[in-house]
Every structure is written in C-alpha cells, then in structure tokens.
Symmetry: D2
Subunit: 136 residues, 4 copies
C-alpha cells in the first residue's frame, strides 16, 4: 500500500457544497502518479518519453461520505488484480478530519503504446511496483 | 431517452492526448442537468432553491474507445433503475465523428436534502422525468 | 461581435459559492473556439491538423460581479487589436439572469506552430475572422 | 516571499500539449491558500468558518514560456500592494526542470463577507501575513 495525502482545493466543491463526484477520479489519478513514483523518471517519463500509458478501461466508484472544503484526503493505493497487460488499482480514500472512509475507487488500466493506441506487454518496472502492492 | 450533444473542449485532453478519464463524469453530470431540464427552473432551481440534490452513491464507467480533440459527444441518457429514494441513470456516449460508442456510465443517485445531507422522498416532478425515460 | 451562450455548470463554483475565478478563462477559451467556428473544420482542425495554435502571452481579467449557479453567461467576443502575428481578443461577459456585466477579459495570443513552438505568420483565414470583428 | 512547489498534473495540459492557460490561475490560488497557511486553521477556516473570502477583482497573467507534462512549478508569492480592504498578490512561477520563469500573475483581491458579498475591513491576521511579505 502506498499512501498519498491530498488537500481538498477551494474549487473542488460543487453547488451542493461538497466535493464534486468527478474529482475523485482526478484524486485517484494523482494517487496513481504517486504510486508509480518509483519508476525511473516517474509516471511522467513513462508517458512522455517511453510513450507508454495506462488508459482506463473500467472504473467503479463507491461514494460513502461527502467531503467538504477544507479537509485533506488520505488515499491508500493497492493492486487489486494483476494481469498480463492490465491491472486493477484500488484506492481507499479517507477524510483526515475524522478518519472516515469517504470513497473507494477501482480502476482497471491497460498498458498501452500511446502512439499506436494499442495494448503492449506490461513493462517489468511497472509490473514490479504493481506486484509489490498486491492486496486481493 | 434524452440526447445531449457536447463538444470536446481544448482542455479536456490529457498528456496521453485523449480525453482524460475523469471528464466523462463531468459530461455525465452535464447530461443529467440537461435530462432534468424539464423541471420548473431546471436542475439548477432544484439545487439552489429547493435545496434538493442528487449526490452519487455509485458510479461505473466502461471506457470503450478513446476520444480526441476535436470531436463532439452524443450522450443518450435513460433511467436504468428507479427506486424509492434512489435511481440509476445510464449514459451511452458516442463520438460524432464516426458514430462509435466510446463510453457507458451508470450513475446511482439518491434524492437528498442538501442542508441536512439526508435522503428524502423523491419529489414527484423528479420521479416523473425518471419514469418517462426508463429503459431497463 | 460574435455572441456565445454558456450555462454555468454545477461544478464551476468554489467554496465561496460563486464561480471560481479561473473558470472565466475556460469560458473565454470556449468563446474563442466558437469565435473561430467559421474556419474550415473550426478551431479544432487549426490545432489538430494544421498544427497551428494561439497560445496566450498575456491575459487581463476584470471581475465586476459574482456569478452563481444556476445562471447562463452571454459572452460577446470582439478583436481589440490585430497585429502581424498576434491579436488581442476581448470578451465581455454578462449574466443572463439580470443582464449585468460580470467580467471583461483581454486575451493576447500569438499564432504559433505547435510542433516547433515558434510564432508564424497569421494564416489568412484566421486574420479574416479577426478583421471582421475589430472593435478598438 | 513564500515558495510553493506544484507538480504539473497529467490532465493539466491541453490539445496543444502545453499547460492550459487557465490552470495558472488554479496554481495561483493554490499558492495563495499556501501563502495564508499561517492563519489559524489556514485559508480553509477563513472561508468556511469565519465566512470571509478574498474574491478577485482583477487578474493579470503574463505567459513567458510554455510548460509541459511532466514538470514541477516553483511559485514564489509576495504582496505587491497592500490597501485597506484590498491587496495585490504577485506569483512568480518557474519550471523546476530548467529554472526558467514561465509566468507571472498579479491578483487583486478584496476582503469580503461571503454571506453578504460585501467588502469588509481586512482582518488583522490576514493583514499581518500580507505585510510580512511585501515586495513592491
């Protein structure tokens, strides 16, 4: 499990005065960029230099509790499933103010050559990080 | 079914040069605002004056094809399930450039008093629109 | 002058319950995409096929009145200055609810080859649209 | 001067493959939230509990160099002008990759009661932080 802390931003809320539901996917993606921070050059170099990305094929979000501004999320990222060219990441999100779980995201990605937009074998360094944090 | 057309914006893409996955929930929400356009004063008045909202409790997105800039989405919104205080909306999203289906979103919401953040009976006018567009 | 109508979205507001100040630049950009709608293939083709863009070099925004959800902006776009390789667009933004002016944006852009990130002569069709809507 | 480091996010870029111009105002606001971190409860409590905010009345951005993903901004925030009920913040933004200055933002705000949306005397603790970082 790799933890990531993320303050709720002033503009993350909506007209119902809670964090807008789509933002949880932005948070999940940030947590994923952080999760792959151990790659040489990080997730950024994977995308920009190696031209390999992890487009989503499926996402599931359970919203358990609303989140307000100000607060900070603690996001715990693990690997829920590891396949050949795909993996499912799991993000458990907690409010720092009271420790309550606020959301859980499952995010299935496929290792993809971004120039051809075709799936590719999962690179070893990507697989290594995913393997290390498997929690079925 | 209520259709909604939504141009992809210049800033909707990400560093992989395709529409960022979280944006599909922004699109879904816009389609929902449009879906409830028949309410007196629209979705906006429901939120801002009647203080009733439709926070998500669960979301499922299947990403079928990448979307690029420029293009336009055609989003077809229907009611997949209608409960007492909750409903599941289904958004089928198609690229206008070639008609391909690009994503399907299922979005379960609960009618909620936004001041108390508690579920309430679904208002009749909200139910009427949901009923009219049921497609199981 | 080319007018553009833009509903305020549910997620455009911030924790102060008014439209977040950065969004006015998103609106300005949308109005610019619309302003150049008369180009063959629109602004999208200019960017994606011709690889010519209009990156900003300066922006000035005056915020005159707050905007809330729900409301709709009417944005009137004109050309405030037309140079060799640059131009300044002016966006006057009004609330539809009461007609009040809410913001004015000045946006100076340079015609740029996006592959080399270097300024280029302004294409004739871009200049034609800018010329047609000059209002000093 | 208060420094703030901000990684460019995967979704911060646009179809021209550089950071979208509006995002610099998001970054500026984050830097401002950080700038006021010394308030008791931070900027968040100012907004949410004390119901005092700092809506913008004017913003000026100079874009000096494009920014790509991945990179990190270093933002240096100072007070450029301190008035009775208003102040102008200045954000100098640099790319970490090469130290180049990429943007400068001037941001004039007014201390405002968010319930009445009327200007109020600047609270002493807000003024103290602004005073400490004046750089004309």
């Amino acid at each position: 499990m790799i933890p990531y802390e993320r303050p709720i931003r002033f503009e993350d809320v909506d007209a119902a005065r809670i964090v807008f539901f789509a933002r949880f996917l932005n948070y999940a993606h940030e947590a994923m960029e952080h999760f792959f921070g151990g790659l040489e050059g990080g997730y950024g170099r994977l995308i920009a230099t190696r031209e390999i990305g992890l487009p989503a094929v499926e996402v599931n979000v359970q919203f358990l509790n609303p989140v307000k501004y100000p607060d900070t999320l603690r996001i715990e990222t693990t690997t829920a499933r590891l396949g050949n060219r795909s993996a499912t990441l799991r993000y458990r999100m907690y409010r720092r103010s009271d420790g309550e779980k606020v959301a859980q995201v499952k995010h299935t990605v496929v290792t993809t050559n971004l120039l051809q937009m075709r799936s590719v074998e999962m690179p070893d360094d990507v697989r290594a990080i995913l393997s290390e944090h498997i929690e079925l």
